[in-house]
């Protein structure tokens, strides 16, 4: 997949502003960014659901503007909002979706059973979707996206709103897909999700790509090895930040905490304490993608 100068405008508003990226077959590729960064618009263009406004885009080597149905027949889409039919059974949802792809009934029945197993929904197969939990619905949506044995699976915020247990189960399922050689394109505003799942990713902000690379590369390039997090009395972070600025390569002042970017966290924390500063709480941790994002945009991801 290749995009050059890919742009999406809605009236006067530019949602995606000339982005370039390419994704290899078999890769897990992430779009990381806060809400409104243009991730979903990009996904919808890739899935041939939304015409591009400018630039070029090739998906599976084809042109989305011309070969929409052909591309979509090889894509599995997990949209941000579930489009399951709540009043039909779990099984019927899978079966009908497969029929949209024109899959023969016999083949489809076998595959539906496999997918129910895969999504751990076999025991709920003949119940309606409505009473299912958010995690179960999400697994069903993912299973549904796989019904056509796609080469490319697009997941738009697959785990937003799920509890940790449900997220881990979903991640496990996505790993399995990746191992099977399916190309995954994932949008998320959770940095742990991006770090766990993505081989490479781009950080998007306000319709543009702010940085690109593997999670490791991004952290190495845009952040320090470690971070010291300090919490002071409310309102004290500004003042403390100025006083401690020379102890770290960089300081970020957040409303609720102070971040000191350094390669030697423990040493920095010792230095802070020898200055007589007394934080309510202190923590040394490794840099994450969230730090990269904070550095690139000056905002935290879940704004």
């Amino acid at each position: 997949m290749r995009a050059r100068g890919l742009t999406k405008r809605f009236g006067g508003f530019t949602a995606v502003d000339g982005v370039d990226f390419s994704i290899q077959a078999g890769e897990a590729f992430g779009f990381l960014g806060p809400n409104g960064a243009g991730k979903t618009s990009t996904m919808r263009m890739i899935a041939c659901l939304s015409p591009i406004s400018a630039g070029t885009l090739r998906v599976l080597g084809l042109d989305p503007m011309r070969d929409g149905p052909q591309i979509r027949s090889r894509i599995g889409l997990v949209p941000q909002e579930d489009t399951l039919d709540l009043e039909l059974t779990v099984r019927d949802n899978l079966y009908l979706y497969g029929r949209y792809f024109g899959l023969p009934k016999k083949l489809l029945r076998e595959r539906v059973d496999q997918l129910l197993e895969f999504a751990r929904l076999s025991d709920r197969a003949d119940e309606r979707v409505e009473p299912l939990s958010g995690g179960m619905r999400r697994r069903l949506t993912i299973a549904r996206a796989l019904v056509s044995s796609p080469d490319l699976v697009i997941l738009d915020e697959p785990t937003t709103g799920l509890d940790p247990q449900a997220r881990h189960l979903l991640w496990d399922r996505l790993y399995r897909l990746k191992r099977e050689g399916v190309t995954l394109v994932i949008t998320t505003h959770y940095m742990d999700e991006a770090e766990q799942l993505c081989d490479r990713l781009v950080v998007m902000d306000a319709g543009r790509i702010a940085a690109a690379g593997s999670p490791r590369e991004l952290i190495e390039r845009w952040s320090t090895r470690e971070v010291v997090e300090l919490r002071f009395e409310p309102g004290g972070h500004e003042v403390q930040g100025e006083g401690l600025a020379d102890l770290a390569e960089r300081v970020e002042v957040l409303p609720d905490r102070l971040l000191l970017y350094t390669d030697e966290g423990d040493a920095t924390l010792d230095a802070v304490q020898s200055r007589g500063a007394s934080p309510i709480a202190a923590l040394v941790r490794r840099s994450t993608l969230e730090d990269v994002f904070l550095h690139l945009t000056g905002r935290s991801l879940v704004d």
Partner: protein, 275 residues
Amino acid sequence: MSVSPPVSSGAAAPPRRSRTPPALRAYQYNLLAYKRTWRGSLTTTFLYPVLYLAAIGVGLGHLIDHGSKQAVDGVPYVWFLAPGLLAGTSMQIGANESTFPVMAGIKWLKTYFAMLATPLEVTDVLYGHLLWITTRVTTASAVFLAVMAAFHAVPSWWAVGAFPAAVLTGAAFAAPVMAFSATRETDRSFIVLYRFGVVPLFLFSGTFFPVALLPGWLQVVARCTPLYQGVSLCRGFVLGRPGGWDAVGHVAYLLAMLTAGTLAARVTYRRRLVQ
């Protein structure tokens, strides 16, 4: 657990596709989904005709006929009324199925969007749904004609022609109403459409009494309404006097409405579903 995903990697042969045309695949959704609502629809398709024909056709008809067998338009009232109700019911089902279910496809269940993420195109989604609504009208019309026969309100073999006429009437309403529904943000406008569109048409298009009884200018208006075409067609067939060029005119009117409505729906569907 060792469950692996049932996917084929890129190198595997593409799965065999069935030859079902895309619009029919969208249609299949409605067919399967209908199994959850078919009980509710029994009221409109079966009970209403019985109630209307019993209460108004037979009950009120008794007062109107005064023992005469030629009280209205030279026939018993129930003969006059039944084909009008047939066309009126087709209109109602056509309109009904093109409002709330379309909103469900766009907003409430988002089934249209589920379809569009697959190889189906906007026109497939539209035609599949329109075909389904036509199916609903078809079964309802068949039931209605059967009920009419039970009430001895089918005096002529020509009545067979009223069946396609009723189906055409329902479809002709469905298409433009679908086009309209796809432009709406909420279901409030559907109530307005009913109050100021469907109900007045049902009452004043020659369904319950001959339009000749209306004041002069209203007669002209009534004769121009779409339901009047359907009512006249059905009544002509049921009473065994289909009428030559008039009938052709009615059919042409309804076909034009179906075509224009479908073309409009293609535009509004695309505008709403592809952004």
